[in-house]
Amino acid sequence: MSVRSPWQVTWSVWHALFMREVLARTTGDRMGWFWLLGEPIAFIAFMVSLRTFLGRTREIIGAEFVPWLIVGLTGFFLVRNAIQRGMSAIQANQALFAYRQIKPVDPLLVRNAMEGLLQTIVLLILVGLAVLNGIDALPDAVPGVFVLWLSLWLLGLGCALVVSVVVRLVPDLERLVKMSMFPLLILSGVILPLQRFPPSILEYLLYNPIVHGLELLRSQYFEGYHMLAGVSLDYLWRWILVSLALGLALHARFERRLKAK
């Protein structure tokens, strides 16, 4: 066999890691499969019963509540899972760095691709379930939804790249990142519409790129949806590009530190 090109080696490594990840997810983590669907369904059931209990009938303008919630939850989990599972990807594959072909960024990228696929399947299943229950949950602009979904995935990837290096350099931050996920869920407007917040607070909430991603995704999903004022695709993509560049640079700079046990 001749010497392989760097790209061939990288592709082999990604393929091998992907097959390994599939194997690990299908055999090891049975409850993981359950929670993948169970978590959003529990959220939806809780929120729907809460609304019924409180007797709130005020609708979200331009969208039905359940599909609105499904889109927000899966979109948010797409970013959150990328960050959370990305943090452990390097640690979990530490032994593999004995083979020089595998770099710390590889398990992270592969795991992210895997998470993106799984979350896409979750979205499709949830939408399917909603439709079966007689709720009109089909997207209005499929290409737009696709682009925004991809953007959210890239945002998760960029954040995961940065966070995975940072928590290896400062391990205490891992707890902080995990803790901040639930407040982030609320502040990203996943389960409560942000439209009701006063503008003075909204000004700060709009620093969060997930808000922009989710609102834009919903505006494509539901025709006539009243988007939060101040949301911009430009801002979202600035975050994506900066986090991707910064994350990759950090991985290049700290590769040795990440490999060390």
């Binding site: 393929h15 390994r20 760095f97």
Partner: protein, 242 residues
């Protein structure tokens, strides 16, 4: 061909004080088909140099350029995932090393070679240490490399397995070469052509002929131990005088 250029390596102690270089300005070019013996005393950096050549560790300065396929150190089991079966681990490595289309060949070789039978489909963490090392040894030989790295890699197992391992290894060396660390001089003389003598704190010495290298090394060890013996006797006489 492997080129090693101005290679420096040191390990830091816990207080992060700078320590002496373990490898200092190591330079050599290993031509295709030439096998190299790394010789030197304990702690001279033989295994470290091996890890650097294998890409398992990074040098502090300088570089290793590999213009051929270089193995990881033979028999190293550190990269296996204990919760996965032998077969799964092997498939993973086959894919990493570009054997995606020839996985079956690799698996057949391993089942035949490693003699672990049904345990091939059991998680690796359930293996006995003998099975584990037979498996690790087999995995290294399952793939074709241009240069194999062998750091004291002597196959474990019974006499029959050792004989088989030796035979397969020699077969591989027909097409490939090896960089080797071993305390068995005869193996080095049999398999290697060139030698690199690593000396602590001094520049390494290259020998085109492995026999010359080993002779020079043995000569220095003899002189060194005589010196040590002298020192020891001086100490005893000093104690006696006290």
């Amino acid at each position: 061909m492997i080129e090693v250029k101005h290679l420096y390596k040191r390990y830091h102690n816990q207080t992060r004080q700078s320590v002496d270089w373990l490898l200092k300005d190591v330079n050599f070019t290993l031509q295709k088909g030439v096998s190299l013996a790394l010789i030197g005393r304990n702690g001279a950096g033989k295994s470290t140099l091996m890890r650097l050549i294998g890409g398992e560790d990074h040098p502090d300065r300088g570089e290793v350029i590999r213009r051929c396929r270089v193995s990881w150190p033979i028999g190293v089991a550190g990269g296996f995932q204990g919760s996965m079966t032998g077969r799964q681990n092997l498939k993973f490595l086959a894919r990493v090393h570009g054997y995606t289309d020839r996985i079956k060949e690799v698996i057949d070789f391993m089942q035949d070679f490693s003699e672990i039978g049904k345990a091939f489909d059991e998680p690796i963490k359930t293996y006995s240490s003998g099975m584990r090392s037979r498996f690790a040894f087999g995995v290294s030989l399952a793939f074709e490399f241009d240069v194999y790295l062998s750091d004291e890699a002597t196959a474990t197992g019974d006499a029959a397995f050792k004989a088989k391992a030796k035979q397969v290894f020699h077969e591989r060396l027909g097409k490939a070469s090896v960089i080797m660390v071993s305390h068995e001089e005869q193996i080095l003389r049999d398999l290697c052509q060139a030698a690199l003598w690593l000396r602590k704190g001094e520049a390494p010495v290259w020998f085109d002929d492995v026999n010359e290298g080993l002779d020079a090394y043995n000569e220095s060890v003899k002189r060194g131990s005589k010196g040590a013996a002298k020192q020891a006797s001086q100490q005893t006489s000093a104690r006696q005088a006290a």
